[in-house]
């Protein structure tokens, strides 16, 4: 597929567990973004990568959240000690370069029970 791919599409986990959410950007896109969308809300920015480095992680809510992009392509969002309030749809987007259109994946719906 040519679009942004996110896996899994759904994840149910117990409170306190650790989860990883994966994002495969469009091939060749240098910029990658993570957003979180709670029910009835617009997406909220979490973190942005330019290449392998996190250029802006100001949106991460606390130190339980961490994201990596070790080879400048696939990214993983990691959440430790999950809480019920972490339940949301996590969206990933990528863009070819800075200042170009961002394409979004379909998201991972995370439910913490």
């Amino acid at each position: 597929g040519a679009g942004v791919s996110q896996t899994p599409s759904n994840k149910v986990t117990e409170k306190g567990k650790y989860v990883e959410l994966r994002c495969d950007p469009i091939s060749g896109h240098t910029a990658l973004y993570w957003y979180r969308q709670s029910l009835g809300q617009g997406p909220e920015f979490l973190i942005y990568f330019q290449g392998t480095g996190a250029a802006d992680d100001s949106g991460l809510p606390n130190d339980r959240f961490f994201a990596v992009r070790p080879e400048g392509s696939v990214s993983t969002l990691k959440i430790q000690r999950t809480e019920r309030g972490d339940s949301a749809v996590y969206l990933c987007a990528s863009s070819l370069f800075l200042y170009t259109e961002a394409f979004f994946g379909q998201g991972t719906r995370l439910t913490v029970v």
Partner: protein
Amino acid sequence: AQSVTQPDIHITVSEGASLELRCNYSYGATPYLFWYVQSPGQGLQLLLKYFSGDTLVQGIKGFEAEFKRSQSSFNLRKPSVHWSDAAEYFCATDSGGGADGLTFGKGTHLIIQP
């Protein structure tokens, strides 16, 4: 900090009627403005964007939006809606042209009546 307000949570329009979705932004300098559409089971799709220049921008699917600095608005319009336009619409802004995070509004849910 920049913010985006979409005053209408729900809008119901008859098929074939015209549509206007409201968006107001709060930002000191000239913002970069976007409209996205989100259909059930689909990712967010960019409809149109404004960076500079002509204040009336054309987008995909027959949508257009007009930037009005005096009103801090960027309303989305379509002359004649189709049933397939039923979706969630998000207005967003970015101070840096898309490099860092977008700030989204809460969205407007568009319902199309037959």
